[in-house]
Symmetry: C3
Subunit: 203 residues, 3 copies
């Protein structure tokens, strides 16, 4: 059977790992640092989610092909991708993909375990944002979630609710998944492109 | 039935959330940042406690009215509380309330689960101090627990032991709770007011 | 019965606690700060390991003599060990001992719980490096794992694999343990002494 959830998870892991490795390379880290940042960015959100919901074994312990894939990616990145100053634009897209996939899948897992929409949306936001927040903290960047320059966590939150409502409306699996995911990715890209924020600075 | 433990937990959550939101506003964060810091400050200690003692579901997942309350507080704070430079004095009181309540309740939960007084006091200190430590770290302040200017964690530790001893002495629930709680809040306020510390600097 | 695993764990806890307390004293922390850093350095890796593998109660909750020992050490250190500028050389040896012991024991626990060699080696590296990484982060040093000046995590990873292979070869408990442990400690000391690194800087 073709398992859409597993495929999405894999895409999310790869996207977040790429975003982490680009940042790690821009800091001129060695291969171990590149792997560590890639691993933490890709699997940090899911690990927090599984710990908080007591969902054992952790998903990367159950699916060891995911850390193996990240290890291979780290080797390729370290010897092939030149260390260079970070270009923000190259991270925004993989980060948005990872944010979208992990937010929706985290929220869905919470629903599966019987939690309410509100709790599920919080757990979705945590799953979607935690890996990226660790990446930015460990690489001495201000995490997106604490930057005021563009909306980030609120897109994930809104995307989860859009997903719940369309699930309730469509009685279907793939349509709501597509709606929630596209919403998060597109709005996030638009927020960066058109400079959308929640609050203007007022000294 | 009037549940004193639940009421105290609620007061502790509100007090810590206020302390977090004051700091977040002083850093001019947007509403999502204010909610995030408030949430982490109020629920971080209890989450660590529940994870370490394998006490599932986490208490904010079980009592979803707590994150909902924090969300409402964050909205009110963001649009009503002017962003201004932090005045230390306004945080010390809510922080002391939260420290007292979570230390005692964390220690009590550990006793309920059959742990020794020593382990319970360590878990009490972690429950009481972790939320505030995350708040200060995320807002680029030095956490109280690592500041030498006033005693902090040692008050929580002493308060837990005072609570255990008075529990053993009084065979009662509310008297030891009151003693432990008042001790922590009053000594903490006095430590800040009268500049009590464990160690003077010696270059 | 003479329990070699328990003895090693105790040595690892003491070694990591010493490394943490030396750093904490060099930052002129008060006794509570010294205890906190010692506790987190010594028990952080094992706590992460137990949480990730859902191995409850946590080992310092089960063996309360370990935090009690750390508390006694913190008191001795605070009043006896003069606060002074850190000399890197004094931390490298206890840190290498702790790294070796916790990497191997973490990996072994993962094998006991039925995980694959690859997952066990990742959990071994996390167990071995997490305490030291927290110590360095909390004391405002760059964690070894993110420094490029000498290899660190890769030694732990290689040591775990050497341990697995010699276990498979020798059908024995103590020989592989000794091989894995000595490998990590000696190679780590040599890496610092002879300046071995994975990657030269290329601006």
């Amino acid at each position: 059977m073709f398992d859409i959830i597993y495929l999405l998870e894999m895409i999310g892991v790869v996207a977040f790992a790429i975003s982490g490795m680009i940042v790690a390379r821009s800091k001129n880290m060695d291969p171990v640092g590149v792997f560590t940042i890639g691993f933490i960015t890709a699997l940090g959100g899911g690990t927090l989610r599984d710990l908080m919901m007591d969902n054992h074994p952790l998903y990367w312990i159950k699916h060891q092909e995911q850390p193996i894939l990240i290890l291979c990616m780290a080797l390729v990145f370290s010897y092939w991708h030149r260390a260079e100053r970070i270009r923000e634009s190259r991270i925004v897209f993989p980060d948005a993909i990872g944010l979208g996939i992990f937010s929706i899948l985290g929220a869905q897992l919470a629903l599966d375990l019987g939690h309410s929409w509100f709790i599920a949306s919080l757990l979705g936001v945590m799953t979607g944002t935690f890996g990226g927040a660790l990446r930015d903290t460990l690489c001495n960047e201000v995490p997106y979630i604490f930057r005021k320059d563009h909306i980030y966590a609120s897109i994930s939150f809104a995307g989860c609710w859009l997903y719940f409502v369309s699930q309730w409306y469509f009685h279907n699996e793939t349509v709501p998944l597509t709606i929630g995911l596209l919403f998060i990715v597109i709005v996030r890209m638009a927020a960066v492109r058109f400079d959308i924020r929640l609050q203007r600075d007022h000294g």
